[in-house]
Amino acid sequence: MKVMKKVLLAALIAATPMMAQVKEKIEVPYIAFPIKMGKGFDVVQANCLMCHSFGYIINQGRQSKKFWEGKVNKMIVHFKAPITDKDKKIIVDYLFKHYGNGKEQ
């Protein structure tokens, strides 16, 4: 019986037109992006990292305060991130200070 099962299993495998080239769970690596430290970083870490890596922040290019405000608002309004008004201000100030272009607008 055991042998029979094995034969059956082998036949099944052979009949499957294509085996997946990945047979187990994949592991997406963690990348330590060189995010800048500074005032408000803990708040950024607590809120932003829930959904995306720091790579997402540092690869937006240098941007205006209005841009960063818009981005944080987008996270709240469209992506429903539970960011408080107090945290929002801290995050925008941090982003503009470290990844800003010096322009308000």
């Binding site: 499957t16 037109p17 294509m18 997946a20 080239q21 990945v22 187990e24 769970k25 994949i26 592991e27 997406v28 690596p29 963690y30 990348i31 992006f33 829930m50 959904c51 995306h52 890596s53 790579g55 997402y56 690869n59 937006q60 290019g61 240098r62 941007q63 205006s64 841009f67 818009g70 981005k71 469209h78 992506f79 429903k80 991130a81 539970p82 272009n101």
Partner: protein, 401 residues
């Protein structure tokens, strides 16, 4: 635009720049950033690529890959929207659910997809609408991609039309909402869904399970993704689990807010005055990229050199690729491949010459499609806030030694 008109336009614009018009205020465009380093960590089934984010994974293909008509799977770019990507798929249990306004709901297994339907293949370019976004100034919102958020593959799968025929559409059915398996961190976050109108379905729109003769890599949407040749990749839903047929268009974040351009003729605006009405990006414009040589390469004086690259558009097909070695004053035809991969695929081009002067040399490539549409110079491309649809003439600067 006819060639002569094009040069006229280019000359006028150049003149404006010379007069000192403050272009930065209106939004300007230059060559995308091209010196990004390849990461030192390989993602699953991938070689190390330019790495913007690990969660969600965002990986860019380096320029030198764009000499081949088909992009190798392990160098194909990766772009997800949500942090939670299934990292394991049970291929025996995975199903694609067809529901909504259908006569018979279907739950199609991978085995059924591969055995019970006609199998078809299409070679098609997959390009992110934000590819080359780093060309825009002021910096447009979003990941600052270079030129490598694109690739071309031979996709194998089943026509979506055949699947819908099997399910049978009810009267009044008009829209399809296609949903994949990626998930947000919060339940309230909108899912990444794409709405398609039934009229958009032609025989080339397929649900693909194979890419260049192999399973789709996980990061490219294993086990199945939607293929819509000629159209930007935000529509090519990965890890499809559900297709719902409806009679009404549902407003969606990604279609109505994220992947949009100004709804005017030039699809342009200025940073000070954004155009109030927008439309989803859709069909790709004509574009070409030089894969060899790359920026900073050293060529030997008088030595035979072959410039290589790829050209494509939204499906009209490429008529011609031209190369300029004198800053765009004169253009010479490159040799195109046979085009046997079809009108949605890359046409590779090659152009042989011998560099005859020492020092810096600019190599420019311009594609023209069968409708006569041609790539503009980078500086003639008008700004849009999302940094979408950049298709400037590619320029590579080398040194002749």
């Amino acid at each position: 635009m006819k060639r002569r008109e094009f040069f006229k336009t280019a000359a006028v614009t150049a003149g404006a720049a010379a007069l000192g018009t403050t272009a930065a205020e209106a939004g300007v465009t230059h060559q995308p950033i091209d010196n990004r380093k390849i990461g030192n960590v390989a993602f699953p089934e991938k070689r190390p690529l330019i790495t913007y984010s690990d969660r969600p994974p965002l990986l860019e293909t380096p320029r030198e890959v764009f000499t081949c008509a088909l992009t190798p799977n392990d160098q194909f770019f990766v772009r997800w929207h949500m942090p939670d990507i299934p990292t394991y798929i049970d291929t025996d249990k995975f199903t694609i659910h067809i529901n909504g306004m259908v006569k018979k709901e279907l739950k199609i297994t991978l085995k059924e997809l591969k055995e019970d339907y006609e199998q078809v293949e299409v070679a098609a370019v997959l390009q992110c609408g934000g590819n080359s976004r780093s060309a825009f100034d002021p910096t447009a919102g979003g990941i600052q991609w270079g030129n490598g958020a694109m690739g071309c593959a031979l996709w194998k799968g089943v026509r979506l039309r055949d699947i819908l025929d099997r399910a049978g559409l009810k009267k009044g059915a008009e829209w399809l909402a296609v949903q994949g398996k990626e998930k947000a961190a919060y339940y309230e976050t909108p899912n990444f869904i794409r709405e398609l109108h039934l009229d958009e379905l032609d025989d080339h729109v397929i649900i693909a399970y194979q890419m260049n003769g192999e399973d789709l890599p996980y990061l490219n949407g294993f086990p199945v993704r939607l293929i819509i040749p000629g159209v930007y990749s935000d529509s090519w839903i990965k890890m499809i689990t559900n297709i719902t047929v409806t009679d009404k268009y549902k407003k969606l974040f990604f279609m109505d807010h994220a992947y949009v351009v100004p709804d005017n003729e030039c699809e342009c605006e200025t940073p000070e005055k954004l155009f109030p009405k927008t439309k989803p990006i859709y069909r790709m414009n004509v574009k070409s990229i030089i894969g060899y040589p790359t920026n900073g390469a050293k060529l030997t004086l008088k030595s035979q050199t072959v410039v290589r690259g790829v050209a494509f558009d939204g499906g009209a097909g490429i008529r011609e690729v031209q190369i300029s070695l004198d800053g765009g004053k004169t253009w010479d035809k490159a040799i195109l491949d046979s085009g046997k991969l079809g009108r949605y695929a890359y046409r590779t081009f090659r152009y042989g010459f011998r560099p005859d002067k020492l020092g810096k040399l600019e190599i420019m490539a311009k594609a023209i499609n069968k409708l006569g549409e041609e790539q503009p110079l980078a500086k003639d491309i008008k700004w849009n806030h999302g940094g979408y649809k950049y298709n400037g003439i590619d320029v590579v600067t080398v040194e002749v030694v």
